[in-house]
């Protein structure tokens, strides 16, 4: 079996365990924690795709995430039913990404400025929403609430039936299914012609264009796909906590997404999930046990990983596995 097929089977089995196995063994309280990790893992995947495969260092992935969360909150408060708000929470970030992508890629903005622009967009949202504390800042019946955020956001419900809420531990299974769908969807996309050309742009943009591919259009579409996934993650996050505040647009949060990916390994999808869950779990555990300050420990880990395992964990284990199989092969022959 090739390594690719082996990885596909492993991830297939793991997702079945995640969807059906975990809820059977884990306590309700932990399941609620896990649901948050899953929402964040979807966010991590969105940037892993855009940055790791499209080569687009988007520092503002949290802008799409936060826009998804706020869109869901505003829409569901006004509508009372969650199906359309979920779709809007995906659609609006996609539109934002198409507009941003048009100006950045068609305007031939260089990579560094691209990171700066996307970060600035995120911070603009942060201050804009932060300044919306007054009574007058409301959309329909939804008050934006400034830095206090929007509390009591209604949960996701079974489509068409607002009284059948999917909340607390019940949100776990749909979230896990969505994570699996996003993961395998991205794998399929990367294996398609679009995915191959996207990676070729990352490898050598000038050559790709000289072969007749429109890199501007392909990168814009990739950014929009990533934004839609980030928006979905934002929707889940908002529905999970029944709350959203401008911290989703903050510098700390947007930097964290990048950290998840660097820890797990840039250019892998599995690494994005692993890095995200690992860091989130550690942060939660440190917060509960109060052994040490969360930020100091995470910062130290980040520095250590960049220095010692610059390619991230998943690529490191893959190399280790290759070396071991080769050794065994040599010993056997």
């Amino acid at each position: 079996m090739s390594r690719n097929a082996l990885g596909l089977w492993t991830m297939g089995v793991l997702s079945l365990v995640l969807v059906f196995g975990v809820p059977a063994i884990v306590e309700t309280f932990a399941l609620i924690d896990f649901t948050l990790f899953i929402a964040m893992a979807i966010l991590s995947l969105s940037l892993a795709f855009v940055w790791g495969f499209g080569g687009i260092l988007c520092f503002g992935q949290s802008a799409f995430f936060g826009l998804g969360a706020y869109t869901y909150a505003v829409a569901v408060i006004n509508m009372g039913e969650s199906t359309v708000p979920i779709l809007l929470g995906i659609l609006l970030p996609v539109i934002l990404a198409l507009v941003l992508g048009y100006f950045m890629f068609y305007g031939r903005v260089s990579d560094v400025y691209l990171a700066v622009i996307t970060l600035a967009v995120s911070l603009v949202f942060y201050y804009l929403i932060g300044a919306s504390a007054g009574e007058e800042y409301k959309i329909g019946s939804a008050r934006l609430g400034g830095y206090n955020g929007m509390p009591s956001v209604p949960p996701i419900n079974v489509p068409g039936d607002p009284s059948a809420a999917v909340e607390y531990e019940a949100l776990y299974v749909p979230a896990a299914v969505l994570l699996a769908v996003v993961y395998f969807g991205l794998r399929a996309l990367l294996a398609s012609d679009f995915g191959r050309v996207l990676v070729s742009i990352r490898e050598n943009e000038a050559r790709t264009e000289l072969l007749g591919y429109d890199a501007r259009r392909i990168k814009t579409v990739a950014l929009a796909i990533g934004a839609g996934i980030a928006g979905l993650s934002g929707v889940l996050f908002c529905a999970w906590g029944a709350y959203v505040s401008p911290t989703v647009f903050s510098l700390v949060f947007t930097a964290q997404i990048i950290m998840w990916i660097l820890v797990g390994g840039l250019g892998t999808l599995t690494g994005a999930i692993l890095g995200c869950v690992l860091i989130q779990y550690l942060a939660t555990w440190l917060g509960e046990t109060k052994i040490a300050d969360v930020n100091i420990v995470l910062g130290a880990i980040f520095v250590a990983i960049v220095l010692l395992v610059p390619s991230g964990f998943v690529p490191m284990f893959a190399r280790l596995g290759d070396t071991l199989t080769r050794r065994r092969g040599e010993a056997g022959s």
Binding site: D193, R196, V197, S200, E203, N204, A206, R207, T208, E209, L210, L211, G212, Y213, D214, A215, R216
Partner: protein, 248 residues
């Protein structure tokens, strides 16, 4: 020449600040013609190519391909019209295998089965059939040049621009490259920038000499070699450089 030209430039000019790299070049290429472009370093040959492929937007002048203007078109749009370039330093997808490189180039205009057939054919044509699974970055320099030749060919262009296709090659490799170019040049137009005179004599019918961004001469190889002005700016300079080395 019979019929309308495939490619025509009129007064093509490219200035970078105070430097004029191409200064009003009037160039014409017939359909299916193979032309060699020579000239000393800095004569504007590579800049001329970059204007033709849309990597640079000319300051002034007109480029007509098949009678239609190319000025202001994006590189990918020009590639789609049928102009394909092998750059001076091989530009490949270094992390991908030889076959994957070729497949990317071939897949734009072909379905899966056609792509596979095209890759199989081209990999043999450029002499890399036994290296199809090698990663591009691990190929020796000469084979990288051939792979890029393959990429250009896989686009199935009407006009191929080859910028120093034999740079850094051994004598045997140069001869083999000449064979490949003669083979693929049968049914497509080609402009080849080269410094290697022996190589040019192997492939060329007509030669255009660039000097200081202008076209200095255009003739058969034998007449070019006999041209006094060409000797002065190009061949003479080489001879001069040889004398300097001799003096030292």
């Amino acid at each position: 020449m019979t019929g309308p030209p495939l490619l025509e430039t009129r007064g093509l000019t490219m200035r970078f600040g105070g430097v004029t790299a191409v200064a009003g070049a009037d160039f014409t290429l017939g359909p299916g013609e193979l032309r060699c472009l020579i000239g000393p370093n800095g004569a504007g040959k590579s800049t001329f190519f970059k204007c033709l492929t849309g990597q640079l937007r000319p300051t002034e002048g007109e480029i007509l391909f098949d009678g239609e203007s190319l000025v202001g078109e994006e590189p990918h749009a020009i590639a789609r019209r049928g102009i394909s370039i092998k750059t001076q330093v091989p530009s490949l997808f270094d992390g991908l295998s030889v076959a994957e490189n070729l497949r990317l180039a071939a897949a734009r205009t072909r379905n899966r089965a056609e792509t596979r057939a095209a890759v199989d054919e081209i990999v043999g044509l450029v002499g890399l059939a036994d290296r199809a699974d090698s990663i591009a970055s691990q190929l020796p320099h000469g084979q990288r040049q051939w792979l890029e030749l393959g990429l250009v060919l896989a686009c199935d262009p009407r006009l191929m621009l080859l910028d120093e296709p034999t740079a850094g090659m051994t004598k045997q490799e140069v001869a083999r490259t000449a064979g490949i170019i003669r083979e693929i040049g049968r049914d497509r137009a080609m402009i080849v920038v080269e410094h290697d005179m022996q190589f040019i004599q192997m492939i060329a019918h007509r030669v255009t000499v660039f000097h200081q961004g202008r076209i200095l001469a255009e003739d058969t190889m034998d007449n070019i070699l006999a041209d006094e002005r060409v000797r002065d700016v190009y061949l003479g300079k080489q001879a001069g450089a040889g004398r300097e080395r001799g003096d030292a």
